[in-house]
């Protein structure tokens, strides 16, 4: 396979040039070439090994095949069930928009059942990516070029290296250029020339690259026979110094990463807890159905995606207000129907709302089935912001962190600046006095509970992007939510925010040493001890409000 591949890629070099000339001469009909057609047949019907050969053969055809190969990698290559024609299908949610893979002729929309997909295995995907990488080294987009360089750099393949060498002189983008240079510097480390090795180490020690770390690690290690893999002591010492240099940076980046992980976990906790901070914190209602209100928000996202299948991003954004309204409505119904009869009887409220939570869970199970529902993540929320090899921030977590802060600030403004907020605070401080002042307390209760529930629904939208959307979603978060609110100080929104972030970061710093299970237990023990010392949490309410 290897030999075959090398041979293949030599031809690629030649054919790349051919490709340019082809581009000048206009489209030449490839479908007349017999070799090309056997490759296509193998691709359609052959075994996995034959498919691999077919891919290598196709690569020799350069540009014309690139479309087919790229479609294959993206999972868009099909055969028609009727006449085994090779087609490219783009998902349009009802079926596929199909066009002929060889001629590009459009065949219109087709149902899913009329085509067979050409399947890939990981092995094929790797070789496909490599092949495409070589064909793509000349494309416009620097990000694609960078990926191509990375895909090729790991290979000990002469022709790939030659391609890269040729590219190095032409390359304008600094990042791609640097990536190519690193590839060659890493190769220099294998050279027999000591000076060259020293020079390579010197140049590489400024790089934040895991490949470099691995290579340096190998240099300072002993092999099985007890000899150093790097025989020369000078080079070894240089490698050691470089490693120390890189490891300090690595430490720094990994702490930054841990803090980001902690903040993002904290953001999820805050989102889950902040609605509760209002219903439990401000109103004093122990609402065990809080988690299920989040679940409703998550299911809203699912339904919205079903309604707007072609607009993933918009449907997620639209879900935010819709989920707020739905959860708020359910929350108000719970308050009017059950909780208002139980004010001042916390134990009964707890049991009644627990019952409500079970009812909500089981009704979701009956309506949507007990299986999890699949909620897709929009493109702009997947993947990560790659800062370097050592540090990357995942987009979905990043957006949720931002979203959490926005929700928090908005809520703070509502409580501080609006009429409703004023009334809520008045009722929370002294119900009788507020009543005497003409505030309709029972309406305010309903509105407050609705607000808290609505926020839970909004939190559910965020959760749908990171976890399962299923009947058990709420249960998973209810304990954490209460923990955050109690730790932060009942009735204090800032307390909830700070508590959420503290718990998130503490958890993430403990996890590497203690493991996920023990970290959770340790945090819980810490909170119990803390509550013993300060029963009112981090930010206790002061003054007369605290007495009620």
């Amino acid at each position: 396979m290897k030999a075959n591949f090398i041979k293949g890629s030599c031809r690629v070099t030649a054919l790349l040039m051919l490709l340019f000339s082809l581009a000048i001469h206009g489209d030449q009909d490839v479908s007349t070439q017999p070799l090309f057609m056997t490759a296509i047949t193998n691709l359609k019907q052959g075994s996995m090994t034959e498919r691999e050969q077919a891919i290598n053969q196709l690569a020799e055809n350069g540009g014309a095949s690139l479309v087919i190969l790229q479609a294959l990698l993206d999972g868009q290559l099909f055969t028609l069930k009727t006449d085994m024609r090779l087609v490219i299908g783009v998902d349009n949610n009802q079926g596929y928009d199909v066009r002929d893979a060889l001629t590009g002729e459009s065949l219109g929309a087709m149902d899913r059942s009329t085509v067979n997909k050409i399947n890939l295995t990981n092995k094929l995907r790797v070789s496909l990516r490599r092949t495409i990488g070589q064909l793509q080294l000349t494309v416009e987009d620097p990000a694609i070029r960078l990926a191509a360089v990375k895909a090729m750099g790991n290979e000990d393949d002469e022709s790939a290296l030659n391609l890269l060498k040729a590219r190095l002189d032409l390359e304008k983008d600094p990042k791609v250029k640097q990536a190519i240079e690193v590839v060659f510097l890493l190769k220099d480390m294998n050279s027999s020339d000591k000076a060259l090795r020293m020079k390579a180490i010197d140049a590489l020690k400024a790089q934040n690259s895991l490949d470099v770390v691995n290579r340096l690690n190998v240099m300072v290690e002993k092999d099985e026979a007890g000899n150093f893999t790097e025989a020369d002591a000078d080079v070894r010492n240089a490698a050691k110094a470089a490693l120390i240099n890189i490891n300090t940076r690595l430490q720094l980046y990994s702490s930054a990463e841990t803090i980001f992980f902690g903040l993002s976990l904290g953001a999820v906790l805050v989102l889950a807890a902040i609605g509760l901070a209002i219903t439990f914190g401000v109103m004093g209602v122990i609402n065990m159905a809080h988690g299920e209100l989040m679940m409703l928000g998550a299911y809203t996202t699912y339904v919205m995606q079903q309604l707007l299948p072609n607009h993933l991003g918009i449907s997620v954004l639209l879900s935010i207000p819709v989920a707020f309204v739905i959860s708020a409505a359910v929350g108000i119904a719970i308050e009017r129907g059950i909780i208002r009869f139980l004010y001042g009887r916390p134990l009964e409220t707890l049991l009644a709302t627990f019952g409500v939570s079970l009812i909500l869970q089981q009704s979701v199970r009956s309506i949507f089935s007990p299986l999890n529902r699949s909620v897709a993540t929009p493109e702009w929320m997947s993947g990560s912001l790659q800062i370097n090899d050592f540090l990357s921030l995942t987009w979905n977590r990043f957006y949720i962190l931002v979203f959490c802060l926005i929700v928090f600030l908005l809520l703070l403004q509502i409580l501080k600046r609006t009429r409703l907020g004023l009334e809520v605070r008045a009722v929370a401080q002294n119900r009788n006095m507020a009543k005497a002042m003409g505030i309709p307390t029972s309406r305010v209760d309903a509105m407050t509970f609705g607000l808290g529930s609505g926020i839970a629904g909004v939190a559910g939208v965020a959760l749908s992007q990171i976890t399962n959307v299923g009947p058990n979603l709420g249960q998973a978060y209810i304990v954490d939510s209460f923990m955050v609110v109690v730790f932060g100080g009942v009735g204090n929104l800032w307390g909830t925010l700070v508590a959420g972030f503290i718990l998130g970061i503490a958890n993430k710093f403990l996890e590497p040493f203690a493991g996920a299970v023990l970290a959770k237990i340790l945090v819980l023990i810490f909170i119990i001890l803390f509550i013993q010392k300060r029963p009112r949490g981090l930010f206790p309410q002061k003054g007369r409000a605290a007495d009620s």
Partner: protein, 432 residues
């Protein structure tokens, strides 16, 4: 006062109705054979177990269409243990003493099985357990139609080691008995194959763990040491989606670090956004995508029965299919539904499985199965990339753990024991 008396009257009517239904029930019971279905229909495990209840109803329905069993109709008694482990034991007792079922098909988690065990042994019932599990058990009254570790975990590791040339291993699991035992066996197995301790990373997470950031970052670091790395995942149900999502977001692709899962099948995949999963692996004894006439017929029947052409089939469903049909064959062979007689008759009974080949009930109450490894495709199906040439016999006691190596299970004379020590020649008679 008046209100109370109307309430009382209503109650008495309901009571009378209840007595009536019970009475008619017992009349009918005489000419039917009852089959207990013990799967959670509510609570956390409903996600997986509801499907198995439907499968059982379909199989029983089908058997009745064929004329029932021993000239009698089969009747399903469905109870809901609500994902509550002690309730499993109570419901099993109810099925055996009150409903007098001839066999029980049920349980999913190992805890629920362990909870049912003492009851089923005390009352001498029959339990068919359809899920892959950690092994280290063989009860006289239980038939394990799912995979033992040597029918799933060990072949999966062999595939990674030999075909994908994996050198470093992450064993990640949810923190309970199945992953702990499986990982213990796998660790011993890997070490016996010469893998160094520093090349094995073991990680446990709580049930429903949703924040995988640091663990995935650790896996990424562990996997970037220049040697091919794979993750062997015994992560359970709900924790999987956030795990795969995080892998995808942090850029850990199946090409770099493949994850092989033992608890992710077609059913679980149907509730996931499959984009980040494509190319990751799963090891089972059955895939819906397997092309065989038997399988096609089974899928068609299932779609017809559920009136949903999109419903998936999965491995535990096939286990129930085989288990139920083996039980039917054994009852016909014994000419009675008496548990004692069926226990004897069922050993050696064979039945064709859905993927080709014939499953056989072994003396240790496990069955022989093929092992398939598949790659996840973006339509939520698994495409077979590797499979064993022959069927693998289920081994109750792992040969890779020093403490269980000399132990075998054999429910035929003369041994007649679930944990017979071949060294001391003694049956420990240990209860579970």
């Amino acid at each position: 006062m008046n209100r109370i008396s109307t309430k009382l009257r209503k109650l008495s009517i309901v009571g009378a109705l209840a007595v009536l239904t019970v009475a008619t029930g017992t009349v009918r019971a005489e000419d039917t054979i009852k089959v207990g279905v013990l799967h959670s229909l509510s609570g956390t495990m409903a996600i997986s177990e509801t499907t198995l209840k439907d499968t059982m109803l379909m199989l029983i329905d089908e058997q009745n269409k064929k004329g029932g069993l021993l000239g009698k109709k089969l009747e399903a008694v469905v109870v809901d243990p609500a994902s509550n482990w002690p309730l499993f034991a109570e419901k099993a007792r109810e099925l055996l003493t009150k409903d007098k079922v001839s066999a029980i098909f049920g349980c999913w988690t190992s805890v629920s099985r362990k909870s049912v065990l003492p009851v089923i042994e005390e009352l001498n019932g029959l339990l068919f357990y359809p899920v892959q599990y950690e092994g280290e058990e063989s009860s006289k009254n239980v038939f394990y139609t799912g995979a033992a570790p040597n029918q799933q975990a060990i072949p999966a590791v062999d595939y990674l080691m030999n075909d994908l040339k994996v050198k470093r291993w992450v064993l990640a699991g949810t923190d309970y008995v199945y992953p702990r035992t499986t990982n213990k066996i796998l660790e011993a197995y890997l070490k016996s194959k010469g893998v160094a301790s520093k090349d094995i990373m073991i990680n446990y997470t709580p049930f429903g763990h949703s924040d995988w950031q640091s663990i995935v970052a650790d896996i990424k670091k562990f996997g970037s040491a220049g040697k091919k790395t794979a993750v062997v995942s015994t992560i359970n149900g709900d924790a999987n989606i956030p795990f795969y999502k995080e892998l995808g977001n942090q850029g850990v692709s199946a090409e770099k670090i493949p994850v092989i899962a033992f608890s992710v099948g077609e059913e679980e995949l149907s509730g996931m956004d499959t984009k980040p999963l494509v190319g990751h692996l799963a090891a089972w004894n059955y895939f819906m995508s397997v092309d065989s006439t038997k399988n096609a017929a089974f899928i068609e029947k299932w779609h017809e029965y559920t009136k949903n052409p999109k419903r998936t089939t999965n491995d535990p469903m096939e286990a129930h299919y085989i288990g139920f049909n083996m039980w039917v064959k054994a009852v016909e062979k014994a000419g009675t539904t008496d548990p004692e007689a069926v226990q004897k008759a069922i050993i050696g009974v064979d039945y064709p499985n859905l993927t080709g080949g014939t499953a056989k009930m072994l003396p240790n109450h496990h069955i022989s199965k093929p092992v398939l490894i598949g790659e996840i495709q973006d339509d939520g199906q698994l495409m077979t990339v590797w499979q064993t040439n022959t069927l693998v016999d289920g081994d109750a006691w792992s040969d890779f753990l020093p403490e269980s190596k000399p132990i075998i299970a054999d429910w035929t004379a003369p041994i007649n024991c679930g944990n017979y020590n071949t060294k001391t020649k003694k049956c420990s008679g240990q209860k579970y």
